[in-house]
């Protein structure tokens, strides 16, 4: 998985979590909370959906790594690539 593909996955999750938001103009380098109506419970949703959909765990100490799409790409791409291959 590339970083861009990873950001797309995160954006898909955000689309479900914040269904009223227009995500077409989201800037990858800007903090998500600064451009979208997301609160701390919504970030817990992102963590939960990564767990449910992909089996990816984000420890609490690493939550700041999910601040922007760019930081999500940096942090999560290696985790996606470390997942066991699907049979």
């Amino acid at each position: 998985m590339t970083k861009d593909e990873c950001k797309k996955v995160v954006l898909e999750i955000i689309a479900d979590i914040a269904p009223d938001e227009d995500l077409s103009q989201v800037k990858a380098e800007v903090r998500l909370r600064d451009q979208l109506q997301l609160d701390s419970m919504d970030f817990l949703d992102i963590v939960m959906e990564l767990r449910k959909r992909y089996g990816i765990e984000v420890p609490e100490a690493d939550y700041p790594q999910l601040a922007s799409l760019d930081s999500c790409g940096e942090y999560l791409t290696p985790k996606f690539n470390a997942l066991p291959a699907k049979p």
């Binding site: 979590i17 269904p19 009223d20 419970m41 817990l44 949703d45 939960m48």
Partner: protein, 412 residues
């Protein structure tokens, strides 16, 4: 203040057969049931009362994702009631508005959903939702209204089994009389159809209705009645002190006449006609009336074999003879049992009788149980009344809670 006259100035509701008072009333007068088939998790198809209001009329998708069905029903009803009341909400002091929402139960739906969700993950609780606690706290439905509308006055639920809808109104009247608030949003809501547990519980009790035609499943007073149709719904009113309502030129639906809440102290589930009769008598006395002054009795009867007989026994004890102007009906025959919303919705369905003098029927009575054959029972067809100055609304619940609320036609 403690003797202040309290009036109803707005109604917002969603029922299985109507999403506004006008639609609800029209269907009650026309004999239109709102009961339909519903797939109940683990159990299959059962008759149920499902509401079809548009939740996106007032809420955002995210609110719906995070909140509960009871919260959504409450918000819909609150917004409809406020709009109906003509209250200038933008100018109103938000810390002087109280929200009092009656509920039979809350949290079962959300807990069952979470257990079902983690069953897909081997019951690993790390998949348990972080929204579980705010969704299941008992004050959730009232709290969601407070959040949605920015109301900062007292907002809480009143747990009173199936008497809760009446208690929402009674409690609001008390708070207005105490001067605790200036306006109240009050009544009751239910999301109970979304928990299989309530269906399974009634089934285990032998008290869950069945019928080949769901529209005929809820049939209080019929000999062949076989139990409760579980329904969701909501009805919230705006209540105000009369002087405030008059000062702003409000339309007044009716005036709180009197009420009583008491307890059987005799059984977990079986009703107690002696205590029910006592509740009705005390409410009539509280209103400064005598039984013959009551023009409509809206019964609680849920179509259980024993419960209907016992309520009829209580009514007979109070209204036995000498009440020729008293007509009796039942709203559950149209919409099933809306649990925490029942009392509030059933009152709403009768309120327009103050102006049109029509009494909606009890439908689905093909073979009247002689033990339920009260004089004045309005069967299958709505009928006109010589006068409608008073409505007496019974709502009873498990653990032996009884409530009777009397609303009077407003006379300046």
């Amino acid at each position: 203040m403690k003797s202040a006259r309290i009036v109803i100035t707005g109604v917002g509701l969603t029922a299985p057969n109507g999403n506004s008072l006008a639609e609800f009333r029209r269907n009650l007068l026309a004999g239109v049931s709102g009961v339909e088939w519903m797939e109940v998790r683990y159990m299959g198809q059962y008759p149920a009362g499902i509401c079809h209001f548009d939740p996106l009329k007032y809420q955002k998708k995210k609110e719906l994702r995070v909140g509960t069905r009871a919260g959504s029903i409450s918000i819909y009803c609150a917004r409809e009631a406020l709009a109906d009341s003509g209250i200038d909400f933008a100018a109103a002091a938000k810390d002087r508005i109280g929200i009092y929402v009656g509920t039979t139960e809350h949290g079962n739906v959300e807990t069952e959903n979470e257990i079902y969700a983690i069953s897909k993950f081997g019951y690993d609780t790390k998949f348990w939702s972080h929204y579980h606690n705010p969704r299941t706290v008992a004050n959730n439905p009232a709290g969601e209204v407070s959040l949605h509308l920015g109301i900062t006055g007292p907002a809480y639920t009143i747990g009173a089994a199936c008497a809760a809808g009446n208690l929402g109104l009674i409690h609001a009247a008390q708070m207005l009389r105490l001067g605790e608030v200036d306006q109240a949003l009050c009544g009751g809501v239910s999301e109970s159809i979304h928990t299989f547990g309530i269906f399974a519980g009634f089934k285990s009790q032998g008290a869950l209705a069945t019928h080949a035609d769901p529209r005929r499943a809820s049939r209080p007073f019929d000999k062949a009645r076989n139990g409760i149709v579980v329904s969701e719904g909501g009805c919230l009113y705006t209540l105000e002190r009369l002087e405030d309502a008059v000062a702003r030129g409000a339309r007044i639906y009716g005036e709180i006449g009197g009420y009583c809440v008491n307890s059987d102290a005799s059984d977990y589930v079986l009703p107690n006609p002696t205590r029910q009769a006592e509740c009705v008598r005390k409410a009539v006395a509280h209103a400064g009336l005598v039984p013959s002054d009551i023009h409509i009795i809206n019964t609680h009867a849920t179509a259980t074999p024993q419960g209907d007989i016992q309520e009829c026994e209580a009514i007979r004890a109070v209204f036995g003879a000498g009440c020729p102007d008293t007509l009796i009906n039942n709203t559950k025959s149209f919409i099933g049992h809306c649990m925490g919303a029942a009392g509030a919705l059933e009152l709403a369905g009768n309120l327009p009788a103050f102006s049109d003098r029509l009494v909606h029927a009890t439908i689905n009575v093909e073979d009247l149980d002689p033990l339920c054959a009260l004089p004045g029972l309005v069967l299958n067809q709505a009928r006109g009344a010589a006068k409608v100055d008073t409505i007496l609304n019974n709502s009873f619940g498990m653990l032996g809670i009884n409530s009777t609320l009397i609303v009077k036609r407003y006379v300046a």
